[in-house]
Symmetry: C2
Subunit: 347 residues, 2 copies
């Protein structure tokens, strides 16, 4: 547990600016007096891309490396071609800083609306691999724009990359009361990658006899996420499957307004990055309508990663209490919600 | 509209046997006297694989080619390693017969239970590409079983393959009252394949000015499928994304007990294949517990493909009427449901 936190702050685009301000408000409020918080803001995202054509330079990476962690709002703007900021900034950062554990908890808190009937119990964590799979950018295009164009995408999976994230997931499952880990893949079709994942999963499982394991195809997993989400405790999965099922998981457990994530480098060789699962939502940006809760919960993950477990739990409790009362309150602005959460964690 | 139907029947494994029997029962009942139905049963699946090691030979393909269409139950058995029957039979057939339009309608019928709150209106069709993408089996493994294993999966996408399925989807959208087509992909990350899909989609859209189009990332699509499924009319998407979202679509629109599919070769160069979306469900096989409705609805798709629109509609109406009354009935066996549907379509 560090007595100082040197934080890189990347508000980014759209509502990113608004929600990050509230995240920092709650962070300042929760930290004990003797923990020194330093923040440095970076102007990455669409604005900088439009102004300079740059997304993330080597010098930027060097600067970010000096921090203990990164808090990110959201990156993306309709004026930038699809893929430019995603590949040029967000994925570049995840890969450069080897964020191989993409952690996405889903918990349906009391009082929170879900599209599912019968208010099921939902409390699981997805450990999404963050540096391999179809996200590597391998592949290419020939005869572009012609009737004979061929475009490929190569999913790259290594024993090294799979084993470390599978181990991380087993350790997380073992630390939870239900001790259950589900591998989600599509090993009946993607047999090369699927067998690698399945074999490593089964091998590591032998070291965790107290963890119950199972395997589900990704297509079937989407069914269970809506018909029986309570069956999941910890899920480990590949980068793309993780992307897909965590959006669905967010949807059923309160919506992307409350879905937090951590892009974690467990070795701490590079700073980890914490961000809400939602995007920059340009349609509601600048209006104080965005819910900062996902960012505030991402701050909790950040604190836990840096060893401030008590403060992380205080934030999560504050969010639970706030959400439980929301039904009775008139709609609040982004900063009203931030103020309320800051007051609770300070109190 | 043919005056005879020469059908290949592949009951397959597990509940496949039971549901196909009911599908044939309803098919016989619905056909007019003057349409001659010939069926030939093929013993593909786990039993044959265990007995002979064969999944689908060239001679099998030659035999199947002689038929007008194929009705498939389900293939798969826990005793066969994952991937063997999927790649060696089901996908081999889809690829050999160039089933590039994998058609999967989702309609929430009155009286049918859904895991979603508020019984939303759901009536859309997914046109899933069936012969490309990550399903091609391209890829491989090096240093298998070692700490340095690398496994790749190559998604192959061609202008030829994408354009024909996109055109099929536009034509289907144009023929529906709402005339709306949504492209689902992940073009912000899978930029090579994503741009190919997006460019072709936009190009073909110019020929269909009366069709409203939009684009949604696959991760976001899973959110809309549970929060606002009514926004979808026709969806066109890649093989793997289609696999994933159609299981979710089935789950929200009545479950895989009623989800039908067609693996269609629109040129009719080879026979098309119709099958329920569900698997062989070995846990309930042989007990008369399986719901044959998905197979019966697949028979309707088969009839429509062969030009028997009136009979297809009669089956769909019978299923709607049967489902609407289910809530009031005690649980029925597989064959009871088949009998009830056969009586309705004959009546
Ligand atoms: C914006 C996009 C590149 C990103 C992803 O696909 O990982 C997002 O969907 C997410 O889940 O964080
Ligand atoms: C069994 C499997 C190969 C198949 C697929 O992935 O296409 C199934 O999930 C389906 O959707 O028909």
């Amino acid at each position: 547990m560090s007595r100082s936190i040197n934080l890189a702050v990347i508000p980014g685009d759209g509502i990113g600016q608004e929600v990050v301000a509230e995240g920092l408000k709650v962070l300042s409020a929760v930290l004990p007096q003797d923990v020194k918080l330093e923040t440095q803001e970076y102007d990455f995202g669409a604005r900088r891309y439009h102004a300079t054509g740059e997304t993330l330079t080597d010098a930027d990476l060097d600067a970010l490396k000096q921090h203990d962690a990164i808090l990110l709002g959201a990156i993306g703007d309709p004026g930038v071609p699809s893929g430019v900021l995603e590949r040029g900034f967000l994925l570049k950062l995840r890969f450069a800083f080897d964020h191989h554990v993409n952690l996405r908890p889903s918990k349906l808190l009391p009082g929170v609306a879900t599209p599912l009937a019968g208010q099921p119990e939902i409390d699981f964590v997805v450990v999404r691999e963050g540096t391999e799979g179809p996200y590597t950018g391998n592949g290419g295009t020939i005869r572009k724009g012609t009737a004979h164009e061929v475009a490929t995408e190569v999913s790259v999976n290594t024993a090294f990359g799979v084993e470390r994230v599978v181990r991380d997931a087993f350790a997380r499952a073992q630390a939870r009361p239900r001790k259950k880990l589900t591998l989600v893949h599509k090993n009946n079709v993607l047999t090369f990658a699927g067998h690698l994942w399945t074999n490593i999963f089964n091998k590591v499982a032998e070291e965790y006899p107290d963890v119950t394991t199972d395997y589900i195809h990704v297509d079937a997993a989407t069914i269970y996420l809506v018909t029986d989400p309570g069956r999941f405790d910890v899920i480990v999965t590949d980068n793309l499957f993780g992307d897909i099922i965590t959006d669905l998981a967010a949807a059923v457990s309160g919506g992307i307004g409350v879905a937090a994530s951590g892009n974690i480098n467990p070795s701490r060789e590079f700073p980890s990055m914490f961000e809400p699962v939602h995007g920059s939502a340009p349609d509601i940006a600048g209006q104080g309508k965005a819910d900062p809760t996902a960012t505030v919960l991402s701050v909790a993950l950040l604190l836990r990663h840096l060893g401030h477990e008590a403060e992380a739990a205080r934030i999560e409790d504050a969010v639970s209490a706030d959400l439980a009362e929301r039904g009775d309150l008139p709609a609040r602005s982004t900063s009203d919600i931030g103020d309320a959460l800051a007051a609770r964690v300070a109190g």
